[in-house]
């Protein structure tokens, strides 16, 4: 179970990486098209969809790698038992919020499909297709935070909290 979940997060991470390359490819296609006078329809929109898919699909994978940013000032300065309780609260809140995100993302896909929502750009994509990435990514995040909550609860208070990685900006 543990290994299977981790493989799913990693797999989604790799898929996100592929969409990152996709963003580069569509932006480049747009530039090349302009320079060499050929036209590929909707490259701007496709680049945006790839970026969105990349961001959402990596959510669970990034959480598992402990790279989502949070304020650890308080967490790092309280005794282990209190820290554990505080961390449980954080994970609980995260489960609720990730659940809301996942539910309404799935509903957005369903609505777009039911009302046949088409992109207003010149790509004319039925929007439910790119939105699938958002629904799948947020659903995985929901699973991942539940998974993290369960792991945390089982592990009990630890002496040493994982420090947040400092690589933003």
């Amino acid at each position: 179970m543990r290994a299977a979940l981790d493989r799913i997060y990693d797999g989604a991470g790799w898929l996100a990486a592929v969409f990152m390359v996709g963003t580069l490819v569509f932006v480049s296609l747009g530039v090349l098209g302009r320079l060499l006078h050929f036209h590929v329809r909707g490259t701007d929109a496709y680049a945006g969809y790839c970026m969105a898919a990349s961001g959402f699909l990596a959510l669970a994978y990034t959480l598992r790698r402990n790279e989502h940013i949070r304020v650890t000032l308080l967490l790092n300065h309280v005794p282990p038992r209190l820290r554990h309780a505080l961390d449980l609260w954080c994970h609980g809140v995260a489960v609720a919020l990730a659940g809301i995100l996942a539910f309404y993302s799935a509903r957005l896909v369903w609505h777009s499909h039911a009302f046949n929502d088409i992109s207003t750009g010149n790509d004319a994509t039925p929007l439910w297709i790119p939105q699938l990435g958002m629904a799948l990514g947020t659903a995985l995040l929901f699973v991942a935070v539940i998974d993290a909550l369960v792991r945390l609860a089982r592990a009990g208070p630890q002496r040493d909290a994982g420090a947040a990685p400092a690589r933003v900006e």
């Binding site: 991470g13 530039v31 961001g55 990596a58 990034t62 967490l75 933003v168």
Partner: protein, 434 residues
């Protein structure tokens, strides 16, 4: 419920979630959800999904993941060694000598990277051990590095400028170009400080090493040529209007892959690491942006930004005191939030106030970046300080004390761009006239 009570309630909820350690992006979603649920009659969840989708898939934002990826590629090249070897011979004659490699190295790397922590880490990787081995005073080495690392935000490309540009709906290309002169100005201020300090404290700086001839200097610097070309291509294409910020970013990714390949640093491992690293870093920022877009929507429905603008307008502060108040506010906020979260969290609420005070939004963007940089080097939360703490194993308070002179210089830079706004607005105006 009165405006004041609503505001107080939402701010309290936000601080509770952030302070207890809930992931920042999710905390923003939470506050927005509660606020909208309580104070409007809109269907909250559906509005959230539409807004988050719209912001996450917007074309203007695509510059962000690409510039992040570019930085991650160059971080994994031999660039930091090349930078030190190429710059050191030129600095031997200047008072302060190799301390300047920190500042110029950071300024150059800042022009290919959008992140100040990455700039700090890349340059420090080489200069910290090399300068320590030569007997340079550690305090000055660390202080100049932490200060100059912040140039990563000001000299384009800059992650935080993209975030600001998307939030404030101003041109990212113009913001980038507007950051060039203030960035060089700040670099010059740092270098002047080192020169003055070295002249006042002779003997603290080690003697120069063997004299090198011009030919030797040029030969040592030749490895920097590809990077300089890459900088000129990326910034030049934005400045001349050949490419948008996003297109320049795509060019930058391809160019840095080429630089990496030319150095023979490009292997499957480094490619994979850079790609996955960029994916995670982008995802982290994307979650914050998603939460912030929803929070901005919620605030708009509640009418908070408009009321705040009216209230501050009624105080009759005047531009100067408004900006000073904002500077203090950001530095205090920076005591526990990172720069990107600070910008996305406050801009949705503050922009109407700023516009109402008649402040140019491009100029304000540069002001915000400068102030966020100052917050980056003030404890307890300052990412450059964290990076240096990891690299030097020193106490964060000691590092912060060494960085204090740079903090004052940045305050001076803020005053300078206030007194002479053309420092910011002149260059983008040249670009617009094309």
């Amino acid at each position: 419920m009165s405006d004041f009570a609503i505001t107080a309630l939402l701010v309290a909820a936000l601080f509770l979630l952030l302070g207890t350690g809930v992931w920042i992006g999710l905390a923003l979603v939470g506050v927005a959800f509660v606020g909208m649920e309580l104070f409007t009659t809109r269907p909250v969840g559906d509005a959230m999904a539409v807004t988050v989708w719209g912001s996450a898939s917007s074309w203007t934002l695509t510059a962000l993941p690409l510039f992040i990826w570019m930085g991650e590629i160059l971080f994994r090249t031999r660039l930091s060694e090349d930078m030190f070897r190429g710059l050191a011979p030129w600095m031997e004659r200047l008072p302060g000598r190799l301390l300047h490699t920190n500042i110029i190295g950071c300024a150059i790397f800042a022009a290919v990277s959008g992140s100040s922590a990455a700039t700090c880490a890349t340059i420090g990787k080489m200069t910290l051990p090399e300068l320590a081995a030569r007997g340079y005073p550690e305090g000055k080495v660390v202080g100049t590095l932490a200060g100059a690392g912040t140039l990563g935000l000001l000299i384009p490309p800059s992650i935080i400028m993209i975030v600001y540009g998307v939030t404030a709906e101003v041109s990212i290309a113009r913001l980038f170009i507007a950051g060039v002169v203030p960035g060089l100005l700040l670099g010059a201020l740092f270098m002047s400080y080192v020169i003055v300090w070295a002249l006042l404290n002779p003997g603290r700086i080690p003697r120069p090493e063997t004299r090198t001839t011009l030919a030797q200097k040029l030969s040592a610097s030749r490895n920097l040529i590809p990077v300089v070309l890459l900088i000129l291509a990326v910034l030049g294409s934005i400045y001349t209007g050949i490419a948008t910020a996003t297109e320049a970013a795509a060019f930058g990714v391809v160019g840095s892959l080429a630089v990496s390949a030319a150095q023979r640093s490009l292997t499957w491992d480094t490619f994979r690491d850079s790609l996955l690293g960029a994916t995670r870093l982008y995802c982290m920022i994307a979650l914050i942006l998603a939460g912030a877009s929803f929070l901005t929507l919620a605030m708009g429905y509640i009418g908070l930004p408009r009321h705040l603008a009216e209230w501050i307008g009624s105080l009759g502060l005047g531009q100067f005191w408004l900006l000073m108040a904002l500077m203090v506010f950001f530095i205090v906020l920076g005591c526990f939030l990172d720069g990107i979260s600070m910008v996305v969290l406050t801009m949705g609420v503050l922009l109407p106030t700023v516009q109402k005070a008649g402040i140019d939004l491009i100029w304000f963007g540069i002001f915000v970046v400068l102030v966020v940089e100052m917050a980056q080097i003030t404890p307890p939360v300052g990412f450059n300080l964290f990076v240096l703490q990891g690299m030097t194993k020193r106490q964060i308070t000691w590092i912060a004390r060494q960085t204090l002179p740079m903090f004052y210089l940045m305050t001076a830079a803020v005053l300078l761009i206030y007194l002479v706004p053309e420092l910011v607005t002149w260059l983008p105006r040249q670009m617009m006239s094309k």
